[in-house]
Amino acid sequence: MTAMTAPMGKFGQSVKRVEDSRLITGNGRYVDDLVLPGQTHAAFVRSAYAHARIGAIDVSAAAAMPGVVKILTGQDLVDGGLFALPSGWGLTSIDGTPARVGVHHALAVDTVRFVGEPVALVIAETRGQARDAADSVFVEYEELPAVVDMVAALGPDAPQLHPDIPENRAFTWDIGNAEEADAAFARATRRVSIELRNNRLVPNAMEPRAINAEWRAYDGSMTIHLTHQNPIGMRVLFMMLLGLESENHLRVVSPDVGGGFGSKAPAYAEELAVAFAARAVGRPVKWTAERTESFLTDAHGRDHVTRAELAMDDHGRFLGLKVHTLANLGGYISTSNALVVSYMYATMLCGQYAIPAVHAVVEGVYTNTCPVDAYRGAGRPEAAYVIERLAHLAAREIGVDQAEIRRRNFVRAFPHQTPLVYCYDSGDYEGCLDAALRLADYQGFEQRRAEARARGKLRGIGLSAYVEACGIGPSKLLASLGGGGNMWESCEIRVQPAGSVEVLTGAHNHGQGHQTVYAQIISERFGIPMDRITVVQGDTDRIQAGTGTYGSRASVGLSAAVKSCEKIIEKGRQIVGYMLGIDPGAVDFADGIYTSAATNQTVAFTEMVHAAHAATQFPTDQLEPGLVATSFFDPPNFTYPAGVHVCEVEIDPETGVTEVVAFNAADDFGNVANPLIVEGQVHGGLTQGIAQALWENAVYDPDSAQLMTASYMDYGMPRADSLPEFGLAFWPSPTPVNPLGMKGCGEAGAIGSPPAVINAVCDALGIAHVDMPASPEKIWRLCQERQEAL
C-alpha cells in the first residue's frame, strides 16, 4: 500500500463520514451482538387488552418449562423495592396544582392501560425458551372499557385510567397572556381559525430497543448495555430507580445505536424490568425488542388535537394568536413528554412572526394508548404545523400571496423576545424566504400548474416558514421551567505522547456523524490529520459527564470541544515558551505550528506534544506534565434554526393520489460544519415530515384500542422512490450563542415539511384544510366534493 497523506479537517468542508464504511460493512457492534458469560434471555408477557384489571397470574406451567430461570410479575418488582418510572419534567397547571402523574410500574400492577403493556417477565436460557414460556403464563384479566379519543377521555362517561386522576386530565397548562390575546382579538378586523389533528407516529428506529444487564453480587454493582441516546442520563435515573448505592455502582454502555429519533431517549419500563431481573437472577439478562414490540411500546410521537385562531388587521398583519391543544399522553407520562408538549411546543407557536399577543393552553390527556414522547422535532413540528396552516389561511382570507402574508409578519430585528419565553438569537427570515423562492422557481409556478392541468392533474404549491429551538440551555433556565436535568455538555481532549487525540464526549452519536465532525473541528484547530482523532462515547466508565444527543444539540458538545482545544493550545504555548526560552505571550499558533515572531523559531504541534509528555524541557513544579483538557459548555441560550420549505404536489383527481413533485428548502442552520452531513440530516428529516403528511399514521381501533397499524403491512413508511429530488440551500445567520455559530439541523426537515405539504395539497384543491395523512381516499373524496361544487 502506498502511503497517503491523511486528510486534514476543515470546518465547512463536505468530508465523507468516516464511520460509514465500518457500519455498512457489517462491523457495527450493537447491544444485541453482545453475549456475556452466563447469558440469559428475557421475554415479556404483554397485555392483549387496552384496559383491564389484572387478576391472578398463574406462572406454574411456564415455570416448569425447559430452560426457564425465573418469572417476575409487577408485584415481584414492587416487593423488590423497584421504583416506578418518573415524569422527568415538573409541569404546573393553570390552577397552580402540579401535573397529575399516573403511577407507571415497570410491569403493570393491578391494571393495564394500553395494548402491549408488559405484565410479566420470563427469563430463560435461550430467547426461544423465554418466548415459549411467556406464552404459557396465564393472566386473568377483567376487561374494562377503553378510551382512545381525547375528547371522549375528558368526557363524563369515559373510563378513568388512573384512580386519582379525574377526567383523565394530567394537567391544564398555559403560556402567554390571555387578556392581551383577548384584547388583540377585540381589536382585530379579520380572523382565521382552524381545527386540526397532528397525527400519531411510530418512530421506527432501524435497530429495535435492546438491553443486556449484568449484576455483580460481590460489590452490588451493575453494568447495563443499553441502546440509548443518553447513557449518562440513564445512569443516574436507573441508579435511583433500582436503589443502587452510588453512580459508581452502575455503568451504562451504549455502543453503536441504530437510530433513535427521540424514541431512544426515554427511560422505558422493559429496560428497567430487565435490569431488575439481572439482579434477581444474578446472571446477565438480555432483551431485544421484536418489531411488533417496537410498534406497540416505543414511545410514539405527536398526537395533538388543536383549535387555533389568528387575529389580523385588514392588511393581514398578525395581532393575536389563541391556541388550545389536547395532547395525547397515552397511558402514562413518558420521561420527557411533559416538556415536549409544553415548552418544546407552545413556546414556538409564533413561528417566524412578530405576534404581540398570544395565549396557548395545553391539556394533557391520558388515553389507553402507548405513551407518547419526543420524536424528531418533539413539539416544534406540532407548533410549526399550527402557525403555518394559519398563515396559509390568512393569505386566503386577506387575498394575498402565500409568500406576501409571511413577509408582512416576519420578525426582522434580532435578538427578538417573543411573548412565549424564548428569545430568538439571530436570523434573516426574508432573505431565507427569497432564497427558497428562487430555488423553487416560485415565479414559474402558475405555468407549471397550467401544464399539469392539461395532463389532468391538480398541481399546488405550499410554503412553510418554520423556526425551531435547538441546543437546549442554559441549565438554569430549564430548571426554572421545571426541568430535572443539566443541559450542558462536556468534552475531554486527551493528547497522547505520539500525537493522537482521544475526544471524550457525553454527546452520543447514533447517525449524526460525530466521529467525523469532531475530528474535522479538532484537526483544523491542532493542525493534525483527522485520522489521528478518535471520538470516545457512550460508556459511563470512560465519560463521566454529559447530556446525550437529542434536540439537535451537537453545537453544545462541539462548543465544549472547542473550549478544550483552546486549553490544549494555550498550555502548548506555555510549553513552547519554555522550549524556546521566550515569553509564552510572544508565541503564535497557526496551522499546527507554534512560532516566535521575534526569533523566527518554530515548534510543531506534535513536537510540543512530545515535550509535554517527556516533561524534560520545563520545570514540572511550575507547569504540570501531560496534555489533557476538560471543558463544560452551558449554552447561554437556545439556538433558533429557521427556514422556508416550498413543496409542490400533483394530485390525480380520479384516484386522490398525491405526488410530491418538487421540494425545495432554504435553511438557516447558522454555520455549517459539514454540508454533506447536514444535507443528509435534512433529507432524512424531510422524508419523515413528508411521510407524516402523506402516509404515516398510528391508528388505534376506537372501541378495542388495539393498534391497527402494528406492522409495515399497515404503517406507511416512506420509500425513496416516493420522494422527489430535494433542492437545498443554506442561508446562514451565525448564532452568537456558541463559539462555532452553529444552530443545529437534525430536526428541521421534519419540522418544516408537514405544513408545506399540506399547504400545497390545500392549494391544489382550493380547500381550507385536510388532516394528515392526506391519504388517497381522503383526497379523492375532497375531489368529489369539489367536482360537485363546480
Partner: protein
C-alpha cells in the same frame, strides 16, 4: 417462531411423501408469506418441507402457444426472463412490481398462487389469461383453482408444480398500491384474448374475480369510457384502514379503464 423440523427433499416424490406422512408438515417455497407468519407465531407446523430447489418445480419453458413457469420460479426470474417478456410482457411487468427486490428474489409464483392472498398480483393474471395450473395430482383451470380469499382447490399435501399461460401481447396489469404494504389495494389485469376481452380484479377483499359485466360490455362493442363502477357489484369489495369498499370499487373501475386504454 416455534421450534420445528426442516427438510429439503431431493425430488417431488420425496416432498409428497414427507407431506403425506406428517399431518402437521407444511410446504415452504420462497417463505415470503410463510416466514412472517411463523415469526409472529401465528402458525405451528411440525415440519417445513422446502420446495424451492425441487427440479420438477424449476424453469421457464416455451410450450405450444404459450409459456410454462415452474412453481419455484422467483418473481425476479419471471421479471427478468426474456422468454416471458417475448410472449407475455404484461406478466414480466407484474412480477417486477411485486414487493421489493428482496421479496422478488425469494418469493415464487407457486407460493403466491397457493397462498391466494386477496391482495396478491399473480392470481389476477392467471384468471384473466385463463392459465392452467399443474399440480402433483392434476391440471386445473384458473377458474377452478381460486376459490375465495386465501383458499384454493388444492388438497392437503398437493403441490403446485407449474403454471401454463397462453401467449398474449395485448395484456396489461395495473396495480394501485396500498401505500403501506405495496400490495394491491386494487389491481386489475386486462387481456385481449382470441375469445374476447378478459378482466380480472384483485384486492377487492374476497379474492380475485372476473369483471364479467365489463367484459361483456366491451365484447358487444361498448367503449372503454363507458365502463364505470356502476357496472361492478360493490359486494366484491370490503374496506379497511387503507380504503373503504366504496373507494376500492371506484379505483377498480379507474384502473381497468386505464389498463384497457393502454391496450387500445
Amino acid at each position: 417462531m416455534y421450534e420445528l423440523a426442516y427438510s429439503r427433499p431431493a425430488s417431488l416424490a420425496d416432498a409428497l411423501a414427507l407431506l403425506a406422512e406428517d399431518e402437521g408438515a407444511q410446504a415452504i417455497s420462497g417463505g415470503q408469506t410463510l416466514m412472517p407468519v411463523l415469526r409472529a407465531r401465528l402458525a405451528m407446523p411440525s415440519r417445513l418441507v422446502d420446495l424451492l430447489k425441487l427440479p420438477e418445480l424449476a424453469g421457464i419453458r416455451a410450450v405450444d402457444g404459450g409459456i410454462e413457469i415452474g412453481a419455484a420460479t422467483t418473481h425476479a426470474d419471471v421479471a427478468a426472463s426474456g422468454e416471458v417478456r417475448a410472449v407475455l410482457p404484461a406478466l414480466a411487468d407484474l412480477a417486477g412490481g411485486i414487493g421489493d427486490p428482496a421479496i422478488r428474489h425469494r418469493g415464487t409464483i407457486g407460493g403466491s398462487i397457493a397462498n391466494n392472498d386477496p391482495a396478491a398480483c399473480y392470481p389476477s393474471a392467471l384468471l384473466a389469461l385463463g392459465a392452467s395450473i399443474t399440480t402433483s395430482q392434476r391440471i386445473l383451470a384458473a377458474e377452478d383453482f381460486f376459490t375465495g380469499m386465501f383458499s384454493t382447490a388444492l388438497e392437503p399435501g398437493e403441490i403446485v408444480t407449474a403454471v401454463r399461460f397462453p401467449a398474449c401481447q395485448r395484456a396489461r396489469y395495473i396495480k394501485f398500491r396500498n401505500p403501506a404494504s405495496r400490495f394491491a389495494l386494487v389491481g386489475a389485469f386486462a387481456a385481449q384474448l382470441p375469445s374476447g376481452t378478459r378482466i380480472a380484479i384483485t384486492g377487492g377483499g374476497h379474492g380475485v374475480f372476473r369483471w364479467r359485466e365489463a367484459e361483456a360490455h366491451l365484447d358487444s362493442g361498448g367503449t372503454i369510457d363507458a365502463i364505470t363502477e356502476d357496472m361492478l357489484d360493490l359486494a366484491h369489495f370490503t374496506g379497511d384502514l387503507h380504503g373503504s369498499a366504496e373507494y376500492r370499487h371506484h379505483i377498480a373501475a379507474v384502473i381497468v379503464r386505464r389498463a384497457l386504454t393502454a391496450l387500445a
